[in-house]
């Protein structure tokens, strides 16, 4: 759906995007992750053919964004940063106006506007003036606008910025819903958002891609060697005795936890999952168990690691 090759965008005195390449397949939901100023918005503006690249090529659904911008624009639903809307218009009128601009006929735009109003939960506010709506509703109007011409690809630049937790939840659910039928590329600097909505993530920093992977793969790649943590109600000695002789366990750490429990951290020898083993031991010894987890690095940790590594390399 998206093919980006060696994309570079230079502003006078600053390189915003520095030779990035990536592809996004049909039906994927891809998150663009990075701190402010990483080049996310610039990349999205180039993808939506709002501005040209300094060098490199971008093809959307096989069309070049520079040479066939209208073909590209017909196939993209783009929600720019900060979701700009004509705040003096009513919701339905605005969506109709946008549908007409995107080349839909009168009848068809009416049908599509009905559809997206329903899809985005705007039925109650369709006659209200956009300027009087809450931010959550405005965001939905922006999403409805991106959807109205049934684009193959939806590009959303920070779709959840500035929303309260309740609105956040509903907008994310909506994006997830969209991901079932469309290819979605969204940018954010909130890491949990990518975990919740995306199947794949591209981490961007200072105009370069630091990592591109499936969300799960990225986590396992950076996970802490399969370490397992359990909280067991037993004496430290008994626990040590029970696990010491197991061939799968490489090392064991025990710390006192609240109550009579001990917090046990076990590292496997060759990356196997120790959880069933621990549970088996606990059952045999008839101990009390209140927690058994394999802590994963959050994207947050991965991101910090990646960006620090990057900085270290630069020095």
């Amino acid at each position: 759906m998206i093919e980006v090759r060696d994309l570079t965008k230079r502003y006078p005195g600053r390189t915003a995007v520095d030779g990035i390449s990536f592809t996004v397949g049909r039906g994927e939901v891809v998150g663009f992750l990075g701190p402010n100023g990483a080049g996310k918005s610039t990349t999205m503006r180039i993808l939506s053919s709002f501005m040209p690249a300094t060098s490199g090529t971008v093809r959307i659904a096989g069309f070049d964004v520079f040479h066939q911008p209208d073909e590209v624009r017909r196939r993209i639903g783009y929600m720019p940063e900060n979701n700009p809307l004509h705040i003096d218009m009513r919701v339905r009128d605005y969506l109709k106006f946008r549908a007409r601009l995107k080349g839909l006929g009168i009848g068809r735009s009416r049908d599509r506007v009905d559809r997206v109003i329903e899809q985005c939960g705007l039925k109650d506010v369709e006659k209200r003036i956009i300027g009087q709506l809450s931010k959550g509703y405005r965001q939905r109007v922006g999403l409805a606008d991106a959807l109205v011409h049934e684009p193959d690809l939806i590009i959303l630049d920070e779709p959840t910025i500035g929303l309260d937790p309740h609105q956040l939840r509903s907008v994310r659910a909506l994006i997830k819903e969209l991901g079932r039928q469309h290819t979605v590329l969204l940018s954010t600097h909130i890491l949990t958002e990518v975990e919740m909505t995306c199947s794949r993530v591209l981490i961007l920093n200072q105009g370069r891609i630091l990592a591109a992977d499936r969300v799960e793969d990225l986590e396992s790649r950076f996970s802490q060697d399969g370490r397992v943590v359990a909280e067991i109600d037993a004496t430290p000695e008994a626990i040590r005795d029970a696990f010491r002789d197991l061939p799968e366990v490489a090392s064991i750490e025990i710390q006192a936890a609240a109550g009579s429990f001990q917090r046990v951290a076990l590292t496997p020898r060759a990356g196997e999952d120790l959880r069933p083993l621990v549970f088996e031991q606990v059952r045999q010894q008839e101990w009390n168990l209140r927690e058994l987890t394999r802590p994963r690095l959050s994207l947050e940790d991965i991101f910090i690691q990646l960006t620090q590594k990057n900085k270290g390399g630069g020095l």
């Binding site: 501005m51 209208d70 993209i76 783009y78 700009p84 003096d88 106006f97 601009l101």
Partner: protein, 251 residues
């Protein structure tokens, strides 16, 4: 074509949904009211009064004040506000051509400008009824006046649209077009008053003088050269606008 009309409707809608739209109409009405007072006074004092259009559009400055004040306010919004709001980005990522956008913004401004003059035309027609002197308001002179309002307005509006495309600040856009407008008017005033016999440059400047054009229009003289002049001016500034948009986009 349909997309073009949609855009024009949006432009008009934006003008009527904003306070500035009503301020423009109010200014026009207020100044037209002053103009009317002037006309009534002259009709009462002069034994052989000039026809009303000449008093109003050629001798008086009401028309020029309205023109110079309102056109920047009408057009300042066109590009600058959309850029400041970010809706410009949303607009330019739809499959709409640059020329379509430029022409729609100009047409919307022109339509609003003409609408803001409509009450004044009503006033003139009413005067004609009251004075019972049809020669004071010759239909041909009236046509000339309308043509003049539209033609000279087009030039000023296209300057305004151009100024608006240069910036994201509505105030800077309005100030720029106001300055150009005042400049154009004072130069025109200066050259249409000089004795132009003989001097080539003087004659040329007289042809280009917008105040001279309006004097002709107000007498019912629709001069083809003036029409061509204003059409070319309008096209020239809209062309510049399109170039600015294209340049900004592909920079």
């Amino acid at each position: 074509m349909n997309v073009f009309l949609t855009l024009v409707r949006r432009e008009l809608g934006a003008a009527f949904n904003s306070l500035t739209g009503y301020v423009v109409v109010a200014i026009t009405l207020l100044l037209a009211g002053f103009g009317l007072m002037d006309i009534v006074q002259r009709l009462n004092s002069d034994r052989t009064p000039s026809p009303i259009p000449e008093i109003f559009f050629a001798d008086g400055i009401v028309f020029w004040v309205v023109l110079i004040l309102t056109t920047p306010v009408i057009t300042m919004r066109t590009f600058a506000a959309e850029k400041a709001l970010g809706t410009y980005e949303a607009l330019m990522t739809t499959p709409v051509g640059e020329w379509q956008v430029v022409l729609a913004k100009f047409t919307g401004s022109l339509a609003f400008y003409l609408l803001s003059w409509a009450p004044l035309i009503g006033v003139l027609v009413a005067l004609r009824q009251v004075t019972h002197q049809p020669q004071l308001l010759d239909p041909w002179a009236m046509c000339g006046v309308l043509t003049g309002i539209a033609c000279i307005g087009s030039t000023f509006l296209s300057i305004g649209v151009f100024a608006s495309s240069l910036t994201r600040s509505q105030i800077i856009a309005a100030m720029t077009s106001l300055l150009i407008g005042i400049g154009l008017w004072t130069i025109s005033l200066r050259f249409s008053q000089t004795d132009t016999t003989g001097d080539r440059l003087g004659r040329l400047m007289d042809h280009l003088s917008v105040t001279h054009h309006m004097q002709d229009f107000a007498r019912g003289v629709i001069d083809g050269r003036a029409l061509v002049f204003h059409l070319s001016m309008t096209f020239f500034f809209l062309f510049l606008t399109q170039r600015v948009i294209e340049m900004r986009r592909w920079k």
